[in-house]
Subunit: 664 residues, 2 copies
């Protein structure tokens, strides 16, 4: 299928990629020419001879994926997309890094056809590729049938020194080894340089030995300019279906430019003179910027049409699949379209006491039966996070239909891997850990939000209610730190019933969700007693329990503090007319009409008390100038939870006293 | 010096540690018995035969350090401290994990004498040890003289599977290899179990090969119960002064208990019955909880006095050092006492335009001459962060007096390593990266704050002012996400002069500081024109430019938006009496008297406009109900900075219009 003969046309194509990228950076007067100049041969060999894609159908489900983990090299990716016919006009190359262009500084998912993931934060591209490869395996395991190999593609990527230094990449590489992801193949742009100098300054490790230790195949290419060697390495990488492969190709940063092999080639335009010299070096001295030779254009056009037939026959296969496996076909089509099936009413919990993590576990298990696309797990805290799907098996190399992923104690990679899974239509992934360790996932959560990926983060043990484990394990600032992030929905249900309602809501959110749950048991709020709960929770905020007659004061609370607010309301009966508002999701509440929001929080009622076991930062928007807050403005402490709540002022008596205090 | 003969007294000591730990967990009805039961022999061999410490003087600068990276095993550390005579009473063991005890759930720095670092978030203990070892080397390089070996101790630690799965540990281990930290020795409690099951589920990598790849010595101990083998391994680890050592000792989680070798032994009390069986197994079936045999008590007492003579002779050496090297001695004593020298007035910048990162670089370089304890660097962004100390060399194995640390592209480990450096009296560390990558450091920043460590985080490229690199590199929510953290001081200076003033202030802060700096040039605010700046910036917030006559409106801004506020004020001259308040540090401002704060922000002036190029979350506290905000509530975009500021409403005209709008 592939040909290993590379001729002058190929070299011209490689050099055209280089110069287009350098021209883009020069025109923008901003960007990174070094990587494109050095890594162009690697990418050319991959894209011209191996990458199974069809620019006419960038969403072909069984296409190979390509991830540019060092996203700062974006210009060469755009040059590839331009030459391959992804509908990116030359004007877009000239408009590199400008307002409104489809060629932003780093590749952005959804902005440019053919860009599979937003990359830039190093290491994350590598880790997202691991997620994509796991997704491909899961889809294949679910849907492939004899004669119907619907999913069998590769996931390729380019990675840099910077990627390989990042911890998230180390975590993901170890996981990829454990998962035997033979369809994962990375080209390592091994140029021996970082921004501060040579890799000998601080990156002296034996990368080859490290990746072998993870269970990868490692192939060394002594000269990254040698297309034939790169080609052979890719062949060998593809041949090993049991181990992920790292192709270490020695390259030269800024190759062919006067700044070659210097950190200066990395992150700024070459400058007119150096660019002219580079153009000269590659034999295009007499050509203008953005020049593309006709035979180069034709070469790319031909090469990128090479898989059209494969794509068409895949579509035919899919059509036949509908005949042969109608049920699977319906499920597949629904999942690829990212449509939810009918999920019915939320589970309702009658009474008693239940931690919201436990309620969530029950809801998740019920949903998993209806939503085969749900796939996820925990960073080694499944039994605590209550995220195990009972009876649905572990997702392991020999059991690829398993639905429980064991991420290991690797929170950041978990986040990046669920991002990779979510990039795959047909998978609805979730990842879980303690809320306090959301900090470890934060770079991944930001990418989920930036890409608008429907990732579900399940964060349990959500306050000092954690108890004895102490301040290292007690979230204080975490709710606030998540609420500040654009395009992330934070949900902290008050009880089992809010948990059930909001699980159904969160599935409909356009982007990532952080579901924040208690470790400790909480009173179930019976629906008979609190009829507003079902509809109200789904709106992010509502009157859970109103006063008889016009309220004088409002207690606003979330999560475990809602029951406390109800208890305080009860204590104040006959003294103060108190309304209790539950605010499980500020983001969803903010989307409601002003009229609705003001019906819940009437502006005239200025006596307001917020109650949340964390910092008050941000609560001012609900409390106004007269309002006060029962909060925790310091790190926690090691003690039984009940003692901590008492010490920090979270008792019905103390909350009631604070309400009374609003009137003094 | 050490003896490798282990007898029945030693075994009894090991078993006493085990049972004390299990008794603590049982009494608390909370905690982790598995690790202590399995790892007791490793810790006993280390503490009884190698660890150079003197419980009578826990702050002896040349003591060996011990870090329990899996902090959940705290009970055995407390048992060791109790038996070694660190002044921890038996009642404290009985009070394990209770409010106000000195035996919290995870070890906490400053709470318990002998606890060298707060641990619990996995991987961070390992990485902090790397920082401690680097600190020890730096101190030795600076102060050791022929005949005066003041600093030559080891840094030991225990690490678990969980630690080794974490990316931060991978980053730190790679750095430790590059740094040839021969004085760093970790015992790996290799028990093959994690919470979700066997390590074969997801941790199949060859740990030995991985650490060899990092440049470590790796020593395998087939049976962690074999004190003699552990002893030999420690001898061999100490003998290699060029490579850090990992001693992989096969242990059994929960050894000797009926739950041995099961995840159930990890994180909950054994239960009365299983504990009784365990006590029986170790031959103490007839003894009460917290029983310590007399010969065991005596054994620990003797062993822990073994280094008293060494400590006393070190102190004598230090006294002689004062004679032989009076200047070095003065510096050493000052640094060990963590006192600042006289630093004089801040640098003043006359006029012009300067990025605050550039101003910071100049101030830092000037300070570094006066503060030899300043040691730090960047996560491979030195040239961008402007954190290189010119002419002061790189901190590398062959140049240990160098002052510039090359952390590599390892932000989280950088944070953990600066924490380790800051745990060492005599070092004032700093670490730098882009503000957007503060997310990667966040778990470390939290530990800095929790421990009250004087770490300086330098975060540059602090807004959409980053420009073309786009949303992956543009902080939006990061100022807010840092401000929510307890005990962290966030500082965002408006110009070069505020930068200079606040550098002197930040050195006096009791805990960590995040110094947030612009990439782009900003107008210098000349002191002649803005005489309030010097005193005002040091108070965290002040009237930078007042209206003539009573202000009608106040513009509040920080960092790069302060000049914008001044420009808007100018546009409104003659129309509105506008005061401009610069708020470089909310935390410092909050510490000022109410009278001062109200003099800056008089309650009667309710027409307020906040201007900050990030989310508005949290600003309500300054703006009140009538106030408004020019903010950015979405992710950024790739374009030149000027264009972005215009698109997002950050121009003098638009800000002035927003002020006028407050009155309509």
């Amino acid at each position: 299928m592939t040909t290993s003969v590379y001729n002058r046309k190929d070299r011209a194509s490689v050099d055209t990629l280089r110069l287009l990228a350098a021209d883009m950076v020069e025109t923008a007067q901003s960007g990174h020419p070094g990587l494109p100049l050095g890594a162009a041969p690697l990418l050319y060999a991959l894209w011209s001879r191996f990458l199974k894609h069809d620019p006419q159908c960038p969403s072909w489900p069984n296409r190979d994926r390509f991830i540019l983990s060092p996203g700062h090299g974006s210009s060469i990716l755009y040059a590839l997309l331009y030459l391959c016919g992804y509908g990116l006009a030359e004007s877009e190359l000239r408009n590199f890094r400008q307002w409104g262009s489809r060629t932003p500084g780093h590749p952005e998912f959804r902005v440019t056809p053919g860009v599979e993931a937003t990359t830039g934060p190093l290491g994350h591209g590598l880790a997202m590729g691991v997620g994509l490869a796991m997704a491909a395996r899961a889809m294949g395991a679910r849907f492939n049938r004899p004669g119907f190999t619907l999913f069998d593609h590769y996931v390729y990527g380019l990675v840099s020194d910077g990627d390989l230094m990042e911890g998230v990449a180390a975590e993901a590489a170890s996981l990829a080894g454990a998962q035997s992801l033979g369809q994962l193949i990375y080209l390592y742009d091994d140029n021996h340089l970082t921004i501060e100098g040579g890799t000998d300054l601080t990156f002296t490790e034996d990368v080859r030995a490290r990746f072998l230790a993870y269970g990868w195949q490692v192939i060394v290419v002594a000269d990254g300019e040698d297309l034939f060697s790169v080609h052979q390495a890719l062949e060998n990488a593809r041949a090993d279906r049991e181990r992920p492969s790292l192709i270490m190709a020695r390259t030269v940063l800024g190759a062919g430019s006067p700044k070659a092999d210097s950190p200066k080639a990395h992150g700024e335009p070459l400058g007119a003179q150096a660019l002219a010299a580079t153009r000269e070096f590659y034999g295009y001295g007499d050509k203008p910027p953005f020049f593309v030779d006709e035979r180069v254009a034709k070469n790319f056009a031909t090469r990128s049409r090479a898989h059209e037939a494969a794509r068409l026959s895949w579509e035919a296969l899919l059509a036949n699949y509908a005949q042969a496996y109608p049920e699977e076909s319906r499920e597949l089509n629904r999942r690829l379209a990212q449509e939810l099936p009918e999920l019915g009413e939320p589970i309702s919990f009658p009474t008693g006491r239940l931690a919201t993590r436990v309620a969530s576990g029950q809801v998740l298990n019920a949903l998993a039966r209806k939503l085969p696309e749900l796939l996820g797990g925990s960073a080694d805290l499944g039994p605590s996070n209550k995220t195990s799907l009972e009876g649905l098996g572990s997702f392991l190399p020999l059991t690829p239909t398993g639905r429980n992923i064991h991420f290991g104690v690797r929170e950041e990679a978990m986040g990046a891997v669920v991002n990779g899974l979510a990039l795959y239509p047909g998978i609805r992934p979730y990842g879980a850990t303690f809320l306090v360790f959301a900090d470890f996932c934060r770079p991944a959560i930001r990418l989920s939000a930036l890409m608008g990926l429907k990732v579900i983060y399940i964060f349990t043990h959500d306050s000092v209610g954690v108890g004895e484990d102490g301040p290292t394990h007690q979230p204080i600032e975490h709710l606030a730190s998540l609420r500040v992030m654009p395009d992330l929905t934070v949900i902290r249900p008050a009880d089992a019933n809010e948990t059930a309602v909001l699980w159904l809501e969160l599935l409909k959110r356009p982007g990532p969700v952080a579901l924040v749950l208690s470790r400790q048991d909480l009173p179930v709020l019976p629906l008979e007693e609190y009829p507003a709960l079902w509809a109200g929770a789904a709106r992010g905020g509502y009157v859970l329990s109103d006063s008889e007659g016009e309220p004088e004061a409002i207690i606003l609370a979330t999560g475990s503090e809602v029951s406390l607010a109800l208890a305080a309301q009860k204590l104040l009966l006959g003294q103060r007319r108190v309304r209790v508002v539950s605010l499980p999701s500020w983001e969803i509440f903010a989307e409601q009409s002003q009229a609705y929001r003001e019906s819940v929080l009437p502006p005239r009622v200025t006596a307001r008390l917020g109650v949340e076991a964390g910092v008050s930062f941000g609560w001012e928007r609900y409390l106004g100038e007269r309002g006060q807050m029962v909060s925790i403005e310091r790190f926690g402490s090691s003690a039984p939870a009940a003692r901590l709540f008492e010490e920090f002022g979270f008792t019905p008596e103390k909350v009631a006293a604070r309400v009374s205090g609003l009137f003094s």
